[in-house]
Amino acid sequence: MNIFDMTIHELHTALKGKQISSVEATSAMLKRIEAVEPNVGSFITVTSEQALAAAEQADQLIAQGECDLLTGIPLAIKDIFLTKGVRTTCGSRILHNFIPPYSATSWEKLRDRGAVLLGKLNQDEFAMGSSNESSAYGITRNPWDTTCIPGGSSGGSAAAVAARQAIATLGTDTGGSIRQPASHCGCVGLKPTYGRVSRYGVIAYASSLDQVGPLTRDVADCAVMLGALAGHDPKDSTSVDTPVPDYSATLSQGVKGLRIGLPKEYFIDGLDPDVQKAMDAAIDTYRRLGAEFVDISLPHTDYAVATYYLIATAEASSNLARYDGVRFGHRAEADGLLEMYTKSRSEGFGSEVKRRIMLGTYALSSGYYDAYYLKAQKVRTMIMNDFIKAFASVDVILTPVAPTPAFKIGEKINDPLQMYLSDIFTIPVNLAGTCAMSLPAGFSASGLPIGLQLIGKPFDEESILRAGYAFEQATDWHTRKAAI
């Protein structure tokens, strides 16, 4: 077996048994990255030297008998996570030269457990996009079909797992940015409940929606990663101080008697037939495993995209005000202060970012606040209430992740609204703040992966991990490998 094909738990066993050293594993990954990167474009920065040094340290720990589940495991993270001393761009030209003086809590947690950083992954600029086409550092291609997008905004994180350039990766999810690329690239992606994982050191897009999560080859790895990431961080006021369960411990408890909701608003006529087929097959599988299905309704689903684009862009317009060329980042040559601001920002931001800043600024501006931002916050409440009501009668909710498999590069780039609408099934979860996971559930006729979404109650990641694991045990979609 190739090292780069391994899961975390497989590599861990090999490291612990000293069949493989972390340096060997890391070198294998770096070689793999070099080999496939020209066809994929998952990375913005590869940190070879630091990776090998970290791997050596990990090997010393292992030699001393200290082999945590993540010790010596080569990972890569989205370039939205601040990494002390390693350039962090967030996919934007405005941060082309930014070397952070501190690291994100989420990355520190993995590093403290011995994980090895291979590099920083490509993404849509400031996590704004669903296709990874808005990165200032080139597009990322879908490893299953390089003429297609990998999804976004954590497109690099999904592509790197699918192309076996990293054992697992970290992404962020504001409106589906982990789940949609995971679905398009055939890997497992989890968006934890808002507040479950610290946002400190993660470059903010929309603060009330952003959440950090893992992308992995299988559900067991996902449980390991979530366990390492979750927990209260005193540096993030919105991180929640509730105990972190042992997610791996309950994985194999099965789904007998589990009540799974099927929201009618997600199984619409326009759904891609291949996606519909995959969902039908998944429902059959769960039935066989002993789960019960309940028809439910999330009546305000149709308002989610509109709500999301008002709230997310409003928050973004404010979050991105700090990129002003004064303390860090790109500064344009300019006469005078005002010109320095406008030129630096206009040169530094790409079109999608500018568009969202404009929309958000408009939604908050005098005379429009009540009609747009406040209205959206109220509809958000209604969407949350939909979920609360639904979860009174079900344990998890099953839906498709995206209405279609990955689309072609360039297909939606000139139609922002169409692009936004491709997130219709993932966005409501962010608005409701709850957790959801995407897992491989089949392929389209043209061989593109299709993902299944399991939505859980707030802070009940255990149930969706358990349901996901049961599905994975009964299917082999997650073992398929992109031929890249």
């Binding site: 404010s318 005002l338 601001y341 908050l364 005098s366």
Partner: protein, 480 residues
């Protein structure tokens, strides 16, 4: 036409916390530029604010001391605008639901009866950094940004437009200043900007109900300047209207050198701050229990203490007011009384000798070398006749200089008052014998001569003779 000025004040009170409002950087004044900064107050990507609990405690204290109601659930909002001293491109402040609302202060302007000034709101916010011009060590003629002050906690206290004259404005401001320093939540240093005031000034014809257009005057950093700036602005607006002009709503800067206000070049365009709730901070919920705890912990406020001094210690109103002008002075006074000093005497000494010595040496009461206990001991020595009031002043000066106790000084310098009638009689006899002529004059009805004899006795005793005993003995002896 006669005009009525209408004034409202917005006061920024810098809080005396050790660290900033949303990060752990020190708030110490005067450090090297940008040395007290971290990712949060630099506004680096990914950094998040966490609220300093002490700021909330201070805000509650300020609210309770100004008769505000404390908002049970208040939130932070972002005020969005671009400026180089504002690292995040927004200021974290409170907009809807500030922590304190609907308060008031009663002010007194000389000779007039108390007037109630409404306090609209008190909210918490972060300060911006500092811009410097023309003093950079580097090349170029740009501006420099120092973010040490960025993220320092402020309370903004907004009054109702209830003030009708510059004197009322100053009285209100002084009272607010006294309260925040008294509470120990602000050092009150106006020069360093710890207590800053913006004044909203408008005028309207007397009897009108319709407020005139207001100008906001910034940068008024002393009580004197507040008076000057408001008076200038009132005059300017009246002149403008009388000349057929109209007042425009604008921000004006006070120039202490000329005593005038001038229009600030408007910051590019009309402000649209796009306030919205800060998603990085969670709602602040203040329970009844928390409020009650804060109320219990409040020190006795100046007004209450003044009344107590008058009622319990029978001080005259004037004394009580002076002695409660700041908390340390009042504490000193009470410590003196607690150590056994007579309230009236302790008060007199504080307002007299101690204030004089403090002023002469530029010392603050907190650093007074004579402790309240030592002062009480000194007063006890006067009361029991050990020393005279006059000698006491000499002793006090020596206490101030050396820090020695009054007993030590008196013993060392032999300053104990002589009350022994035998000894004094001896002195009187000697003096009468040496001044037969004067004795005769006195006995012939020249009463004024009595003072001469007192002086002679005191001189002979080096001031130590007990004046009461001297008087008594002289009277009987001179009678013959």
């Amino acid at each position: 036409m006669k005009y009525q000025p209408v004034i409202g004040l917005e006061v920024h009170v810098q809080l005396l916390t050790d660290t900033k409002i949303f990060c752990g950087c020190s708030t110490k004044f005067g450090a090297e530029p940008n040395s007290q900064t971290c990712p949060v107050c630099l506004g680096l990507p990914g950094a998040l604010p966490v609220l300093n609990k002490k700021v909330v405690e201070f805000a509650i204290k300020a609210g309770l001391s100004t008769n505000c109601s404390i908002t049970p659930r208040s939130i932070f909002a972002r005020k969005n605008y671009f400026y180089p001293d504002l690292p995040k491109g927004y200021q974290i402040s409170q907009f809807e639901d500030p922590i304190c609302q609907h308060g008031w202060l009663d002010i007194a302007v000389d000779g007039e009866q108390l007037k109630r000034i409404g306090i609209t709101r008190i909210h918490m916010e972060e300060d911006a950094g500092k811009l410097v011009h023309g003093e950079l060590s580097g090349p170029g003629d740009g501006s420099g940004v120092d973010l040490n002050r960025a993220c320092t906690p402020l309370l903004e206290v907004v009054s109702e437009p209830d003030l009708r004259s510059s004197d009322e404005a100053v009285a209100y401001l002084k009272q607010l200043h006294q309260i925040v320093t008294w509470l120990g939540i602000c050092d009150g240093n106006m020069e360093e900007g710890s207590f800053r005031c913006d004044a909203n000034v408008s005028v309207m014809p007397v009897g009108s109900e319709v407020l005139g257009t207001r100008a906001e005057i910034k940068n008024v950093n002393s009580f004197k300047f507040v008076k000057q700036a408001i008076e200038y602005e009132i005059g300017r607006q009246i002149d403008l209207i009388e000349d057929g002009g109209t007042v425009v709503q604008e921000t004006r800067l006070f120039d202490p050198n000329s005593g005038k206000t001038r229009s600030m070049r408007s910051k590019e365009e009309a402000h649209d701050y796009r306030y919205f709730p800060d998603p990085d901070l969670v709602p602040l919920v203040i329970s009844e229990k928390w409020i009650e705890k804060s109320r219990r912990e409040l020190p006795e406020l100046p007004e209450q203490r003044q009344h107590r001094f008058m009622k319990e210690l029978e001080l005259p109103a004037y004394d009580a007011e002076v002695l409660t002008s700041n908390r340390s002075l009042a504490d000193y006074f009470e410590a003196g009384v607690a150590a056994g000093g007579n309230a009236k005497s302790v008060g007199n000494w504080i307002m007299g000798e101690i204030t004089r010595a403090l002023n002469e040496t530029g010392t603050v009461i907190e650093e007074c070398p004579v402790t309240p206990e030592q002062l009480a001991a000194l007063l006890a020595l006067i009361d029991d006749g050990t020393i005279s009031g006059k000698i006491a002043k000499t002793v006090f000066d020596e206490m101030w200089r050396s820090g020695k106790t009054p007993h030590t000084i008196i013993t060392e310098q032999g300053l104990v008052q002589v009350s022994d009638s035998g000894a004094i009689e001896g002195l009187i006899d000697e003096i009468m014998a040496a001044s037969a002529g004067q004795v005769a004059e006195y006995r012939n009805g020249k009463d004024k001569m009595f003072g001469f004899f007192v002086g002679q006795v005191m001189k002979a005793s080096k001031g130590k003779a007990n004046p009461a005993v001297v008087n008594e003995l002289l009277l009987s002896k001179l009678k013959g």
